[in-house]
Every structure is written in structure tokens, then in C-alpha cells.
Symmetry: C2
Subunit: 607 residues, 2 copies
């Protein structure tokens, strides 16, 4: 108990849930590190796709980045509308459930849960790789180090949201500041023509031969990996301090602006410095940009460290998003009910631990290789984007509130674009791993539907008509005895006070033992009938179950059998090992096989 306290802190009262809620300055780093960290590889993904046809195509990175920033803008606007419409959180799940159907909602929920899990695995892998790049001695231990990271995060989050916020806020701000300085310095140098390796930055007007629309679209969809994570804020509205809705919308806007500035800036600078992506993966585009801007000085190293830290923290976004989404789905009976229980520290313990386990499995199965995980990554999130926006379009068309046409058009465009990304992603990355997601999503959907059906079924079975009077059921008490001793005496005394229908049951392992017990019982004469059975297989349970069957047959429907088990409880735990655990085994077997009431009459041994 004390150890648990030390590890997780004192239990919190339900009323303290509000104190755990976050102001904007805490919510921004906690909920945005996933989206912001994508900047670390967004530009690189675009350039790598374009590099497949040749360096001449690099000039197309700017229009593609502009398109993605446009997409980000649409998403931010759209998700601010989600926050307005669904302040209780739930994001895409909520929107799809209410405007499309429960089944579409489940699909959105499953997609998001898969994506949260992947975010942890991808970000932790990338983060660990950043460390092991600095310290190659750690290379053989990528998986164990990653698992330590994951469970450190599990621990932090089990302690509660607010506390983990304090720890995680600083590195995100460090990364933001670094990026803003980098982009600011770089653009200033470029505008004042003070760039070392001068290069023409322009928007191309025609597609040259050798470059196809397909390559451009592939580059665009690859760059979209920089967009993942923006939905986290809309799912976590209930985690904001009041006024939650307004705070969430502000945080969303701030994130959008930061994303656009940093992502756009880095892309422009990559052209200004004429950077070619390194396909061997030893040097990132971001690090080359930083090196060109500042040289290999202190600032360069700070940027590298901040990048590594935010990649690791990106995983933490999921540790906020996953448990909340799971709890909302559990309230709709679309997840096991325990996901909606808050633990001692008010965190959704089951969701946090489940995410830790799943991410650890992913990390082990994929050996901590980021590049193997990436193709699985963005499908789920873009699928949920699509559903949320389709849902909103339907909502606007139904409600026809002020400005509904403009809203519906924005969301409609968003839905089309994000759905387009899903298709491109699925097609171009199917063989590289996207098939796993395509395969697992319907299975999970089926499981969740079964869970929901089970809960509905149970509710129906438990439903009771309050007007019907309660029927009382008489009972026959069976007391299995192992001999005549004090526990049997107190058990019989207890049973006789409840009902006159009491029978003791003894299993003898030989006819002699049976005779002996019968004689002793007759001599004692406790006023309770004794039934003795000889078991040739040295087992008590089988004859007992047969005996219960016989009694039940005679009682018929209206009466119930109660088995009263005298059980020792020893004062020292190791003393338990010295006694046959027959009461324990009989109880377990009866629970599994007979419809009888099982009562344990405890007898505490002093030593």
C-alpha cells in the first residue's frame, strides 16, 4: 500500500477531477507534440518521393507544402467546428456516431485507437533512434530502451494528467522556440540575400517531362504524415480547464499556425539551401537545414536534442488521447466497461496500460524499426478525418443553421481531400505494411460489435419489472465436512439458525473410514443428518456435485441449494501452504458447474 502510494501518489477524490484539468499553456504541449513532431520528417518525406525521379523535381516541394498547409487549414477550421458541436470530446468517433451511424462511429473509433497505438510505437522508435545515433553503443538495445520509455510514460500518466503535463511541457516549448528561431533566421538570411549556397526559390508553372502527376500525388500523401495528430485536441476537450471549449479552439488555432509556419518555413529553406535528402537515413533534412543556417555549433546540437525529445513526447499525446477515447466508447458499450473507470489518481488506468502493452508488442514485433512502422501509420487517422467531416457535412445539411452552406463546402472539400489521401496511402503503401491495418480494422470492428451485442443482451436479461412482487426461495443447506471439529460445529450452528433443511456431507476414501465417521456422528448427534459417500478416486468434488444433483432433482424449481464451506484462514501467509486448499477448489468448481449458492464460513486460526 505504501509502495503504491510512493509510486503513484495519494488517491484523489472524484471532486478533484477539475483540479486535474489543463490550462492552455499545459494543454498545448501535451496534446500537440504528436502533430508538431511530424514537422521533423514531413518535408523529408516529400523530397524523398520527388528524388525518385530526379533532383529537378525538388522545386515542386513548395507547391506540395502549400497544398498540405491548405489541408491543415481546412482541418483546423473543420475541427474547431467539431469542438463547437461536440464539447464533450470524442472527436471523429462522436461526429460519425451521431451523424452517420453507430457502425461508422465504431469504425472511426477503431481507426483512431489503432493510430494512437502506432503513434506511440513510431515516435518511440524514432526517438530511441535519435539517441542511439548519438550513442551507437545503444544500437543492439533499441527495443529494450524503447520499452523502458513506453513504461516510463505509462507510469507518468498513471500518476495523473496534470503532473505529467508539468514534466512534458518544457521540451515541447524548447522545440517550438528552436524551430521558430531556425525559420526566422533562415528566412531573414534568404530575404536579405545572405544565403551561403544561393538557390532560386520559385513555384513551377508547368510539369516537366519525367515527372508524373502520380509521383506528385504520392509525394503529397507522404507529406501528409506531417498532419497526423491534429485531431488529439478535439478528442480531449473534457481535459481542458473551463472554459474548455474556447480553450480547446484556441489551442487548435495556435497549433495550426505553428504547423503552417514551421512546416512551410522548413520547406522554403530546404529549397533556398538546395538540400538533397539523404536516402541512407544517416542525416535528416531538418538537420541539414539547421547546419546550413547555424553551422555545427551549440544551436545545432540543441535543435537535434529538442527534435529527439519531442519525438519521444509525441507518444505522450496518445497516452492522453487513447484512454479518453476508450472511456467514451466504453460508455456507449463499444469497449469493455472497465475502460470507463477512473483509477485512484483519476486517470483511466485500463486505457493507459492497454496502450502500453499494445505499443510494446508493436515495438517488439517490428524490432523498433521506424521505417517499417510508417506505412501502417496514417491510414487510420485520415479515415477518421474523412468520417468526421462527412458527418459534419450531413449535420450542416440537416440543421441548415446560419452559414451552413459555407461550412458544408469547407467540410466537403476536407472530406474529399482526406479520403483521397486514404486511397493514395492504401494503394501506394499496401505491400509495405498498409495491408495489416486494412486487415485488422474490420476484425476489431467485428469484436467491438460483439461486445456491444453482449452488453445489450445482458441488460435485457437483467431487466426487471418493478411491479412484480419478489418471490422468496427456500433453500437446502449442504455442509461438506472433513471430520468433526470446531469449524464444523460453528458452521452447523450457523446453518441451523437459518433453516431446518441442513444436511452434512462426508466423503470417505475407504468403507472403514465411512463406518467410523457414521458411528462418531451418531454418537455426537448434532441434530443434522449426515450423508456418507465412499470415493474410490480420492476426490471430494465429484461425489459432492453428484449429491447436489440428486438434491436438486428432489427440490424441483422452487428451491435452491446452498453449499456451506467451512474454511480455515491462517494468520501467516505461508501457513496456507500447509493446508489442502479443498474449500478453494470446491468453490471454484461449483461456480463453474452448478447453479448453487456457495457460502464460506471462515474460521481464523491463531497460529
Amino acid at each position: 500500500m505504501t509502495f503504491k502510494r510512493l509510486l503513484f501518489g495519494r488517491p484523489l477524490k472524484s471532486s478533484e477531477v477539475d483540479a486535474e484539468k489543463m490550462p492552455i499553456w499545459k494543454a498545448l504541449p501535451i496534446l500537440s507534440s504528436d502533430a508538431l513532431s511530424s514537422v521533423a520528417y514531413g518535408t523529408e518525406m516529400i523530397l524523398l518521393e520527388l528524388a525518385t525521379v530526379g533532383a529537378f523535381a525538388f522545386s515542386f516541394s513548395l507547391p506540395i507544402a502549400i497544398a498540405i498547409i491548405l489541408l491543415i487549414s481546412i482541418l483546423i477550421v473543420s475541427y474547431r467546428q467539431v469542438i463547437d458541436a461536440y464539447p464533450q470530446g470524442g472527436g471523429a468517433y462522436m461526429v460519425a456516431k451521431e451523424n452517420l451511424s453507430m457502425m461508422w462511429g465504431r469504425l472511426a473509433g477503431v481507426s483512431l485507437l489503432i493510430d494512437y497505438t502506432l503513434t506511440v510505437a513510431v515516435s518511440i522508435s524514432a526517438g530511441v533512434l535519435a539517441i542511439t545515433s548519438a550513442f551507437p553503443a545503444g544500437l543492439p538495445y533499441i527495443v529494450p530502451i524503447g520499452i523502458i520509455f513506453i513504461w516510463f510514460m505509462v507510469w507518468m500518466n498513471l500518476r495523473g494528467t496534470s503532473e505529467s503535463g508539468n514534466v512534458f511541457a518544457l521540451p515541447t516549448y524548447l522545440f517550438i522556440v528552436c524551430m521558430l528561431i531556425l525559420v526566422g533566421k533562415g528566412l531573414f538570411d534568404w530575404l536579405t540575400n545572405n544565403v551561403q549556397a544561393e538557390h532560386h526559390v520559385s513555384i513551377p508553372t508547368a510539369i516537366p517531362s519525367g515527372l508524373t502527376w502520380f509521383v506528385l500525388l504520392k509525394a503529397f500523401s507522404s507529406g501528409c504524415s506531417a498532419v497526423t495528430g491534429v485531431e488529439a485536441i478535439s478528442n480531449a476537450v473534457p481535459n481542458f480547464r473551463d472554459p474548455a471549449q474556447r480553450s480547446a479552439k484556441r489551442t487548435m488555432l495556435t497549433l495550426g499556425v505553428l504547423l503552417a509556419v514551421i512546416f512551410g518555413g522548413v520547406t522554403i529553406l530546404s529549397q533556398a539551401y538546395d538540400i538533397h535528402p539523404d536516402s541512407t537515413g544517416t542525416k535528416t533534412v531538418l538537420s541539414m537545414v539547421a547546419e546550413d543556417a547555424f553551422g555545427r555549433g551549440v544551436i545545432y546540437y540543441i535543435i537535434q536534442i529538442a527534435t529527439m525529445m519531442i519525438l519521444t513526447l509525441a507518444a505522450n499525446t496518445s497516452f492522453n488521447g487513447f484512454p479518453i477515447l476508450a472511456s467514451i466508447m466504453a460508455q456507449d458499450n463499444n469497449m469493455p466497461r472497465m475502460f470507463s473507470n477512473r483509477g485512484d489518481r483519476l486517470a483511466f488506468n485500463h486505457g493507459i496500460i492497454t496502450l502500453g502493452v499494445l505499443a510494446s508488442i508493436l515495438l517488439i514485433v517490428f524490432g523498433g524499426r521506424t521505417e517499417s512502422l510508417i506505412p501502417l501509420y496514417a491510414i487510420g487517422v485520415f479515415l477518421s478525418f474523412t468520417m468526421a467531416q462527412v458527418g459534419l457535412v450531413i449535420k450542416w445539411c440537416k440543421e441548415k443553421s446560419q452559414g451552413w452552406k459555407r461550412k458544408a463546402i469547407i467540410n466537403g472539400i476536407g472530406a474529399l481531400v482526406t479520403f483521397f489521401v486514404v486511397i493514395i496511402f492504401s494503394l501506394t503503401k499496401f505491400e509495405e505494411g498498409a495491408w495489416i491495418v486494412v486487415f485488422i480494422t474490420p476484425i476489431l470492428l467485428w469484436v467491438i460489435t460483439k461486445i456491444n451485442k453482449h452488453y445489450k443482451n445482458v441488460a435485457k436479461q437483467l431487466n426487471v419489472d418493478l411491479a412484480v412482487p419478489i418471490p422468496t426461495t427456500d433453500t437446502v443447506i449442504i455442509i461438506p465436512v472433513a471430520g468433526i471439529h470446531k469449524v464444523v460445529v460453528s458452521t452447523i450452528g450457523y446453518a441451523k439458525a437459518l433453516t431446518p433443511n441442513v444436511v452434512a456431507f462426508y466423503v470417505a476414501f475407504s468403507p472403514e473410514a465411512a463406518k467410523e465417521m457414521e458411528d462418531k456422528w451418531a454418537q455426537w448427534n448434532p441434530g443434522v443428518r449426515l450423508v456418507v459417500v465412499v470415493s474410490r478416486y480420492r476426490t471430494v468434488i465429484k461425489p459432492l456435485i453428484e449429491f447436489i444433483g440428486r438434491i436438486e432433482y428432489h427440490l424441483g424449481e422452487k428451491k435452491r441449494v446452498t453449499v456451506l464451506l467451512p474454511e480455515f484462514f491462517t494468520s501467516k501467509w505461508w501457513h496456507r501452504l500447509l493446508h489442502n486448499q479443498s474449500a478453494f477448489r470446491i468453490r471454484a468448481t461449483l461456480f463453474a458447474r452448478k447453479d448453487v449458492v456457495v457460502a464460506t464460513v471462515p474460521f481464523r486460526l491463531n497460529d
Copy 2:
């Protein structure tokens, strides 16, 4: 269930225990492989000690071997007397317990249990080493291979004594035949002066300078490792087919003759062939004798394989001896009671599995190195020899039956000699590992004494005066409810039939929920009072325990509290995961902390 059947065979009736008993031809290989396998290294141990002063001392191996054969004779005679006096088995434990005191009996028992465990570890290590010598590719896997061997034996023995006998009889007979052929051929060659490397075999008449009595005694005590295992037969008398006593004595005699012939013969041949022991451990003395007698032909390889097999089988002796001794000690309350229970196949499962676990631990801790285990090995068995014989001396002196003086003298000499071996062993091998046994034996003795005291204490607490009438105890039934549904209805109906003192108990997580439940209950009005408590920490258990405390305070000594837990049982196992296991947790907590009757009213869900 079917899988268990396939693995272990059908359950056996208690009356089939006699069919499991062994005739002599089966008992000999099962109970003697430990003693016989010692021949494989007995002569070598003597020669290795003598080699420390020089090859000139080798001629003393013959008188030492004669002394050991004398010791074997004394032990055989003595243990035939044990079988006569104690046909129910138990060997040294029984003799020491009855003639000295319970404490000495426990010491003998503990010593033997330790030695059985060591026998498994030593024999398996040596056996595996024989295999890996032939196939060096297995060298890195000595420990895993050894553990597979151990658990194969556990499995065989769990199937039952007789069946394991059939499997294990053949290799022992193969070894015996091989050894007899080897000794016969060798002695014939020697007597007909047909020895390749001619050497003078003689008994020296004086101790030359450079050789001390201490070295001779050390060599003698090392050679005594060949004597370990002879007690197994006297401990296993109940396992013999009737007439058990006479069969056991005959088996004992056969073993003694075989030991003397093979051990004596090999020692004579080692001198005739002028064999020098190989201190690097790559070639055994026995293999050199066999090579000199037959050359490196088929017979040589058969002898090597037979040696390897009997070393492995030696471990099986312990799998017969350990569980039987443990069960006898358990009947005296000197071991946890479960060791006296026979399993489905009539074997003492707990003893077999415990031995498997302990031997596996030894194998892992000592890395499967035989030479590290040997110094721990013989102390226990010789200590038990000593106690058995001291016990018999006292018995003869008390009873003064026919020929008691002769018997007492034989046992007295045996006691002195074996005690002498214990002292020499402890002194010369203390630093090499004997200290572990010297350290662990008193600890185990203390634990066993505590176990015995606990059982006596429990018996005293449970003892009941049959003349005193049974006091009936009234009860108050508390029903924790989570809402109003069908299970609660049937539970209340059940409780009301037993007693009018029924109270329902509801824990609300907010004041609003409390109010709502109270209103609903009042509307329903089931004729049972409802107590509602608001928990701010989202836990049901703590308020329930406090409530029970309050009720108990009002009831006083004469009444008892019963907690009636409505519990769901789902038809599919995975559905259990979908329900909070609160009934399970409440039950466990109440068992641990409150002296109340806990009854479970099952409600079976259909889907």
C-alpha cells in the same frame, strides 16, 4: 481433461494401489540404479586422491576397496535388519524417530531429502556430460538438456511407479550385464596371465614414506561415494509386491553382491592394467579399463552408453524415494500435509514435482557442473546411515531379543564407520561446498519443527468437546447492490426466506446518484431496507468494510454478519473480461480482513 488423460493416463482407483506394486525384477533396477551407477566413478575417486602423493600409492586402492566392500556388507546386513524392523518403509527416518527421538528422526529425514535432491542433480549432470562428451555441439546447452531430462522423469513418475519401471528396467540390466562381462573377462585374462600390460597386483604390507594415514582416509571417504543410494530399498518397502518384506531383503542382498563384485572387480582390473587416473576429466577410469579389456570396439561403446544411461537413471531412484519419504514424514506432520496425498495415478504428485523443481534449481545454480555438486553430496546420506544404525543399536539393547549382542555390535561398527566418514567428508570438503549442506540442514530442521508445531496448534484449536450442545448463531444479511436488476431481485428473495434481518447496501459515487437510487428503491419497495453511502474515492470495498464494522458493533458477540454477493457468470470465458470483477475482489478482501460469512449467489448469463 482429455489432454490430461493423454499425458498421464486414466485416473486409478485407490484399490489399484496394489497393482502398482513392484516385483523384485522391477524393483531392483528402479531402486538400485543410484547405488550401481556409483561404481562408474567409485574407483576413480580413490585413485584420484592417491595420485596426489604419487603413482606408487595406487597399490593401496585394493585394501581401500576391500574396506569399502566391508562397509557395504555391514550396511547391507544392517539395512536388512531395518527392513525387518520397519516394513512400513521410512528407513533412517523411521528408525531414528522411534529409537532416538522425533528431532533426530527429522534430522535423518531432512538429510535424506537433501541427498535425494542432490542425487538427481549430480546424476543428471554426469549423464548429460556423458552425452555432450560424445556430441560436443551440446556443450553450451548442458543446463537446458539437464532440465528436459529432469522433467521427463517428473512426467514418467507422475504416470505412476509401475509404468516408469518398465521403461527404466532395461538400461539398468544392460549396465549390470556389461559390468559383469567386463569384470569376468578381465579377471579371466588376469588369472590366465593373458593381460596386455602386465602388472603386479598385491596388497601392500607397510605404508611407504610420502604416504600418510590422512591421505588414505581421504581416499577411503572419497571412495565411499560409491556407497550412496543403498538405503533407497529400505525406504521403499511399501512399494514392493507382497511379500514386500522378503522381496525387499532379497533385492538388498542382490544389490550388495552386485556392488561388491563390480566395484571390487573394477578396482583389481585397474591395478592389473596399471591404470593412472586422468585428472583433466576427459577419460574415466572405467572407460580405460573397458578399453584395455576389449579394445575400442562395439562392446566398448555399448559399455559407455550403458554407463551414461544408468547415470541418468540413478536420478530416478530419488524420484521414487523422495515422494515416499516426504509422504511418510507428512503423515507425522513433519511435512506439509499435501505430500501425503496420492494423485489420479496414485503417485505422490507433490513430492515428485517438488523434487523436480529443487533439482532444476540446483542444476541452474551450479551450471550443471558435476564436480561442483559432488562435495555437497555424501554428507546427508552418511549422516542418515549413522542415525539409523545408532537407532538400531539402542533398539537391540532395549529389546534384548535373540542374538541382540551380535546385531548391536554389527550396527555399532557401522555407526562408527559411517560417522567417521561424515567427519572426514565435512572436514576435507568443507570449503569446496560441504558448508552449504552444513548450513542448510539446521534451517530446514527449524522449518520442519515450525510446521509440526503449527499442525499441533491447529489440532488443539479445532478440538471439540462432543458433549457440549451446539450453539446456534443468528445472522444479519448484507446485500451489496449495484442497481436494481434481476440478480438483485433473486438475491433478496433468497435472503428473505432465510432471515428477516436483511439490509441492502449501495455505494454511490456522487450525491446525485445516491438520491436517484434512494428514490428508485422507495418506489420499488422490496421490503428490505437500503443503506446508501457516497464514496468520494470511487471504491466500493472500503465503505462496505466500514459498514460491516458498524453492524458488527451493534450485533455484539452472539450474532454473525453474512454478506450475500450477487455475481454474474458468463457462458463464454472472454465475456468475463467485459464485466468488472467486483464480486471477486470484494470476496477476496472480506476473506482477508473480516470475520463474516461470504455467500455468492450466482446468476448465469446466457450470452
